[in-house]
């Protein structure tokens, strides 16, 4: 058996994983990061918009402070977040951004004097103070009182990830790519590392560590339509759930974005609608004003996504080989505007669709975008249930996002959490010795070897893993998409339970040798269906609407009964998760109130 040992093992080398790794390496510990793809291809690189921190350098950010950022974050979460964590986050965010600058991120900077900016397609001017020249600039993002999103042109995630990966290389962090963690090594009490499969050779290795971090990003790929990279399939979360003792928090909280392009679900920016783009149905009829007379296309992300779905359910979507969609029309904005102010959209349409948005309609549909749920941790980033296990980034439910994450707050979370949780892991590493039990390592390895042998031999059956996955896609999109209701969720849960049975009977058509992609899928599919069940079952039980979780049959946000966080664990052999609940927050810096957007009634806490 191949064994590799280290102090800290980061499963994931996106922004969260690498930021934690750097903190530990900086303190003299040995660190290994595992990643399915070269670190720089991690999904963090796809974020173009930017990251929030209350620096208050720009004219439109003047008067910003961590307190204002805190209020925006808690409101954004629809009071579902842990307020202690939100406070830690907003206070540390400015330091994290400055540190990124120190390490080499080419942030856009303040240019003094009168500057032209755009809002709602209209130009306006603002005066940037000469004394702020050269400080980090910020742009506007939805749901915030001040402009606070730090950015590097249209490549924020890319630049920040490259800078962190450079820093990791400098600090001697060892990044091993094309490796996939498939199980945690533990004894029900302490985590001792992972069993990972090499995606170049198929070989299994036991990585042993005093501390293990899950930083595997989102699990959007349990949905067919997702803006996420194809590797965002919840692998890290599955290893946690499979322990039976580590709970996943708020899995039912899934964010959708209105305008993913069809067929590949690449995101086109909200700026299209902001600048005056409209949504049309199969008759090229503009339907949004019928549903939202005031705001029409400019209602918030979740509202527009819901209305689009509702309209398609009436049979008014445009049929295509990839399923129904709607049209986004920006033709009336004109060539000059589209080729300059919406350059990125123009490029996406031309490169991926062969559509010229100056003359043609853009096919779009609401698309899964962000997973608020994940491995439940405390404010130090330590997972519930196992000693020595931590989580950070999108894979974690550290819980500063509650039921709805604000644009720009996720990228910022990765590095801020990385800094804070990295520090806590350093304390942990200094303070304790982990005893690695050879029996636990051998058991974990034997179990994975046996699983692979069974899949190759079709011992449990010969269901095709891709067919099973497609069945899961159909079921979850129908039942636990943007709109939810008791009846559809019940159907969805029942269907997914049946699909779980099939997932347990998959077998390979091929021999499974080397980097075999069919085996990769087969090893993961049961876990993916379990994640889908955590989402659907959690959504069925949560009889209220909060943030991105919308129950048509329970339209109120119910603070009296549901100011709680769902915790889902999975007992060995069960075909449903066990759900428990804890208070959403122990500390109230800001008592529950109205978000100020999105509408909806609230049942008060002591109502």
């Amino acid at each position: 058996m191949k064994i590799i040992q280290t102090d800290l093992l980061c499963v994931g080398a996106g922004l969260a994983g690498e930021r934690v790794a750097i903190e530990a390496a900086d303190n003299g510990f040995s660190v290994i990061c595992l990643s399915i793809v070269p670190a720089r291809r991690s999904h963090s690189s796809a974020a173009q918009g930017g990251m929030q921190a209350a620096l208050g350098n720009s004219a439109m950010g003047e008067g910003d402070s961590p307190d204002v950022h805190f209020a925006d974050t808690v409101k954004g979460s629809d009071w579902g977040c842990d307020q202690e964590v939100a406070r830690l986050f907003v206070d540390a965010a400015p330091i994290a951004m400055r540190q990124m600058a120190f390490w080499g991120v080419p942030w856009n900077r303040v240019v003094p004097g009168e500057q032209t900016y755009y809002k709602g397609g209209k130009p306006f001017t603002a005066f940037e103070k000469p004394e702020n020249e050269g400080l980090i600039h910020s742009r506007n993002f939805g749901g915030t009182a001040k402009w606070r999103t730090c950015y590097t042109s249209d490549g924020t995630g890319h630049c920040v990830l490259y800078t962190l990966d450079n820093r990791a290389a400098q600090m001697g962090v060892s990044v091993i790519d094309k490796v996939e963690a498939i199980a945690l090594i533990h004894d029900g009490d302490t985590c001792m590392g992972v069993i990972a499969r090499c995606l170049k050779t198929g070989e299994l290795t036991a990585y042993l560590a005093k501390a293990t971090l899950i930083a595997t990003g989102g699990f959007g790929r349990i949905y067919r339509e997702s803006t996420n990279a194809v590797i965002c399939d919840g692998g890290g979360l599955i290893t946690a759930l499979d322990t039976g003792v580590v709970p996943l928090g708020n899995m039912e909280a899934v964010q959708f974005h209105p305008t993913g392009i069809v067929p590949t679900d690449i995101l086109v920016t909200e700026g299209c609608r902001g600048d005056g783009g409209t949504l049309l149905d199969k008759n090229e009829y503009r339907f949004m004003p019928d549903y939202e007379p005031d705001k029409a296309e400019l209602a918030s992300r979740d509202v527009v996504s819901r209305r689009m779905t509702e309209h398609m359910r009436k049979g008014l979507g445009v049929p295509s080989p990839y399923g129904d969609h709607l049209w986004l029309d920006i033709r009336h904005l004109g060539e000059a505007h589209i080729r300059t102010k919406l350059r990125e959209v123009d490029e996406i349409c031309q490169s991926f669709l062969g559509v010229d948005p100056v003359y043609q309609l853009i096919p779009v549909r609401p698309t899964q975008h962000y997973s608020m749920g994940g491995v439940r941790t405390n404010k130090d980033g330590a997972a519930y249930g196992l000693k020595g296990l931590f989580s950070a980034g999108e894979s974690a439910c550290w819980d500063m996002h509650g039921f709805n994450r604000l644009g720009g707050n996720s990228l910022a979370e990765t590095v801020v959490a990385g800094m804070i949780i990295g520090g806590k892991i350093v304390e942990f590493l200094k303070g304790s010795e982990t005893v690695i039990k050879t029996a636990s390592v051998r058991d974990a390895m034997d179990k994975q070897n046996a699983r692979i042998a069974d899949l190759v031999a079709c011992k449990n059956g010969s269901e095709n893993p891709y067919t099973v996955r497609n069945a899961m896609f159909d079921s979850i999109m129908k039942g636990a998409g943007i709109f939810r209701n008791g009846k559809d969720l019940e159907t969805c849960v029942a269907e997914l339970q049946e699909i779980l049975g099939r997932a347990r009977r998959v077998g390979l058509r091929s021999n499974g040798k080397g980097a075999n992609p069919e085996l990769t899928m087969a090893l993961k599919i049961e876990g993916m269906v379990k994640l889908a069940l955590c989402v659907a079952y959690g959504a069925l039980k949560r009889t209220e609407s909060r943030g991105a979780h919308t129950r048509e049959d329970f339209p109120e946000r119910n603070d009296r009964d549901w100011l709680t966080r769902t915790l889902a664990t999975w007992a060995d052999g069960a075909d449903l998760p066990t759900l428990n609940y804890e208070p959403a927050t122990h500390v109230f810096e800001m008592p529950p109130g109205d978000r100020g957007y999105g509408g909806g009634k609230i049942i008060p806490m002591n109502g």
């Binding site: 793809v37 070269p38 670190a39 720089r40 291809r41 999904h43 690189s45 796809a46 330091i95 400055r98 540190q99 600058a101 120190f102 390490w103 080499g104 080419p106 942030w107 856009n108 900077r109 303040v110 020249e133 050269g134 400080l135 980090i136 590097t152 042109s153 490549g155 890319h158 630049c159 450079n166 820093r167 290389a169 990044v175 094309k178 995606l199 170049k200 050779t201 990279a229 194809v230 067929p263 590949t264 690449i266 995101l267 080989p321 990839y322 490169s351 991926f352 669709l353 062969g354 559509v355 096919p363 390979l508 058509r509 091929s510 021999n511 040798k513 080397g514 980097a515 075999n516 992609p517």
Partner: protein
């Protein structure tokens, strides 16, 4: 539409003793707005589950899907079948180690590259969490970003004659990376430090200047301009007697 597409795909699984390098033929009915991302996934899911290839972002951002498409290195995710002939030949990128079929190991190559050029800010300053950020001119920040846009897809390396011939050649991508740090005032390395890294045949003087790299770069990074600047800068550095040993060399 209505075309039937034929894909000729290079096949070899080095981990399977029974496998030997050959080409396989697959056919698919073309659908509207089809890209190679869609086509390859359909082939894998409907016809041959063993087909190895890499995609990640499928949005032209991560660089995972570079391969040789009808003889030319490019990103498969933003290649539309509509713009291709009905017969499409796909090969893995050369230079990089083959993982299997169309999948290559770019990670190891690029890690080696950035260790060689020490692709990080060299400074003796210490970060002070209480201090305001150091100021930078916005135009300069944007210039650095221009060079930072490289997605390490490897197309330029795969297209480069020198890289094919000599394994130790750093390639346009490395020289561009270095140019990025030369531009960055936070990096305190001197001309001599840079010269030590690239003032050789492995570096700037191995380049034949035939531009294949820039032609295939999906991010349209001005590689040629950077190569030119670097060549002049390094030649100057040599003349300025920074490295007398180098002056003896003929270039």
């Amino acid at each position: 539409m209505g075309r039937t597409l034929t894909f000729n795909i290079f096949r070899y699984n080095p981990s399977d003793p029974a496998s030997s390098p050959h080409m396989d033929k697959f056919t698919l009915d073309e659908t509207e707005r089809m890209t190679l991302f869609i086509a390859l996934n359909r082939i894998r899911e409907e016809i041959d589950p063993t087909l190895m290839f890499d995609f990640c972002c499928r949005a032209g951002i991560c660089g995972a899907c570079a391969m040789v498409i009808n003889g030319r290195p490019g990103l498969a995710c933003h290649t539309k079948t509509k713009e291709m002939p009905a017969e499409i030949t796909l090969m893995p990128l050369p230079v990089f180690k083959l993982v299997g079929d169309l999948s290559v190991d770019t990670g190891t190559w690029f890690r080696g590259m950035y260790q060689k050029v020490e692709s990080w800010v060299h400074t003796d300053k210490k970060f002070d969490p209480k201090a305001q950020e150091e100021r930078m001119d916005n135009a300069l920040a944007e210039q650095i970003y221009e060079l930072d846009r490289c997605i390490e897809c490897g197309c330029c390396v795969g297209a480069c004659g020198t890289a094919l011939m000599r394994e130790d050649f750093l390639g346009a991508v490395a020289l561009n990376r270095l140019a990025r740090f030369i531009l960055d005032p936070r990096d305190q390395r001197t001309e001599k430090d840079y010269f030590d890294i690239v003032g050789t045949d492995e570096g700037i003087f191995g380049c034949m200047g035939l531009l294949a790299c820039e032609d295939v770069c999906p991010k349209q990074i001005p590689l040629q301009e950077q190569l030119g600047k670097l060549r002049r800068k390094m030649a100057l550095a040599a003349v300025k007697n920074i490295l007398p040993k180098f002056l003896k060399k003929d270039f």
